[in-house]
Amino acid sequence: MTEPVLEIRDLSVHFPVRRRGVFGGEDGLVKAVDGVSLTVAREETVGLVGESGCGKSTLARAALRLIEPTAGSVRIDGIDLTTLSGEELRKRRRAMQMIFQDPYASLNPRMTVFDALAEPLLVHQIVPRKAIPGEVAGLMAKVGLARRYVRKYPHEFSGGQRQRIAIARALALRPTLIIADEPVSALDVSVQAQILNLLRDLRRDEALTLMLISHDLSVVRHLSDRIAVMYLGKIVELGEAEQVYGRPQHPYTRALISAVPMPDPVKERQRQRTVLRGDPPSPLHPPEGCAFHPRCPYATDACARIVPPLETQPDGRRTACIRLDAIEAEPVA
């Protein structure tokens, strides 16, 4: 593997929670991200999956220092962002751009497409002022927006087109890395496919490095080289996309994959599903030991005591589960 573009090491984000009530109440600590290490190599796409509240978006925001990490380091192109401040931070942060779920919320409703794309070029002096119209036209072409739309406002576009504008805006700064946080979750299936294809083409043509965050495993699998699965602030499984999706090891990954309904009635009837008990736990009161043990069909007493380390497996992936041998031996659905 080439040298990593992004190197997240032991990153933690803890939010203090104050409870004020008639009886005082105790202060709590939500460990939204708890000691996560993850690297993204040049031109690689890493998918980050997990259910709501697992910390995947917090991890991305902390990587950009949009949220201040509690501990750990984030290196982009070898430079530790967590030690920088002011002008230097802004300059380095430019190398990472983010695309959000709702492009309507992330675009200024009073700026035309031209303004939205010209602004970052101007602010960061990417190209000389008189080259801006040409650069804007080039960006629009890259994301498949017709040139005649250049003077239109966000409300005049459909959701998919707005997401194209948001992607063009991210590309404007020629970033080393793009973090896409649920980029297609708000879109209809037919439009979702357009945006996924666009990201795919850009990855190839622009040599993009991408971190793709989604709750939808099929979306992540479609684009990612590697997949990281998060549960309650920690990575529980990390490996090649086909390993994780095709032969999941961690009981949570197994359950997650088996819970996704497949658009095939025959397969749906035949397959054995692992339906989990209960809801995801409250991050304010995480279970002792392995955070997944109260919902895990394979859990033993030891799981309630031991925090499983993320260990490298024979096939190269990393999995945090102390029961792997037993699970592999008896392949219960």
């Binding site: 439009v191 819970a259 309904p261 658009p263 339906v275």
Partner: protein, 324 residues
């Protein structure tokens, strides 16, 4: 005889910008105990159609322009309010995507479950309470008797959806309309809720209309499916037949657009463009501008929903002619 028979339903919204033909002539029926899926993308009219049947469309700006929806010999679209009120919330109930907007935040769960029993079934307070406890137990809520005193905010998203289902089923309806019941939930919780609906349907023997945008949810849960596009039904068939041999180009494209349906290294089949503006009158097939198979005739004649195989109807003139 079908339990609910909808014929040529048209619901338009009269807005300042023009008339939006949200539902433009749909006919469908659901039999006793059957699960019918209605799939479509946002704005296809799937929710508006069902809200129209239950008289829940705000009028104005909405107006039911035409059609009939016959339940038990009563045309729900033209029944007096008093008659409708006896059926809605009792014989036909509905659950929605976001339980928090349907549950009253100021009322305890218990009070909300008991209300329909007192109103519709005339149950005594004690009797209604017992029924509420068993309704909560049936949807898998622990310590049901205790939980009756809880407020909605004290439940998680999945639990709230369970409470909604308990409320919808407490009067033992013959038809449950579930509008994207699991869209707001995490996948692992979605699996639990869908299992629950299926299980309860079996034990209570009710029919279910499941409205969803997720073809996966349809595949695992419905016996028959109707696919909606631009306010119309473009294809309807038994679930197996629809997935095995989709005949309408829109259904075909929708299935091909799903990630995971194809080889990972192949690009997804995206559908060019986007759904039509429902304010402008649509001439011809509403899907024609995005359809790879469209010919001149598609842009001129409006295709009717006709059987192309037994039990398999398609609103596409080329499929009807056997050209696709």
């Amino acid at each position: 005889m079908p339990l609910l028979d909808i014929d040529d339903l048209r619901t338009y919204f009269h807005t300042r910008a023009g008339t939006v033909r949200a539902v433009d002539g749909i006919s469908l029926h659901v039999a006793e105990g059957e699960t019918l899926g209605i799939v479509g993308e946002s704005g296809s009219g799937k929710s508006v159609a069902m809200l129209s049947v239950l008289g829940l469309i705000p009028q104005p700006p909405g107006r039911i322009e035409a059609g009939r929806a016959v339940y038990d010999g009563v045309d729900l679209l033209h029944a007096p309010q008093s008659r409708l009120r006896r059926i809605r919330g009792s014989r036909i109930t509905m659950i929605f995507q976001d339980p928090m907007t349907s549950l009253n935040p100021y009322m305890t769960i218990g009070a909300q479950i008991i209300e329909p029993l007192r109103i519709h079934n005339g149950a005594s307070r004690a009797d209604a309470r017992d029924q509420a406890v068993s309704a909560l137990q049936r949807v898998g809520i622990q310590d049901a008797a205790e939980r009756l005193r809880s407020f909605p905010h004290q439940f998680s998203g999945g639990m709230r959806q369970r409470v909604m289902i308990a409320m919808a089923l407490v009067t033992r309806p013959r038809l449950l309309i579930a509008d994207e019941p699991t869209t707001a939930l995490d996948v692992t919780v979605q699996a639990q809720i869908l299992d629950l609906i299926r299980e309860l349907q079996g034990s209570l023997g009710m029919a279910v209309i499941l409205i969803t945008h997720d073809l996966g949810v349809v595949a695992g849960n419905c016996a028959r499916v109707a696919v909606m596009y631009a306010g119309r039904i473009v294809e309807s068939a038994a679930t197996d037949a629809l997935f095995a041999t989709p005949r309408h180009p829109y259904t075909q494209a929708l299935l091909a657009a799903l990630p995971g349906a194809r080889d990972r290294d192949a690009p997804l089949e995206s559908i060019p463009g986007f759904p039509p503006d429902l304010i402008a009158p649509i001439v011809g097939c509403p899907f024609a501008p995005r359809c790879v198979h469209a010919v001149d005739a598609c842009r001129e004649t409006t295709p009717a929903l006709e059987e192309t195989a037994p039990g398999h109807a398609t609103a596409c003139i080329r499929a009807q002619r056997g050209e696709l």
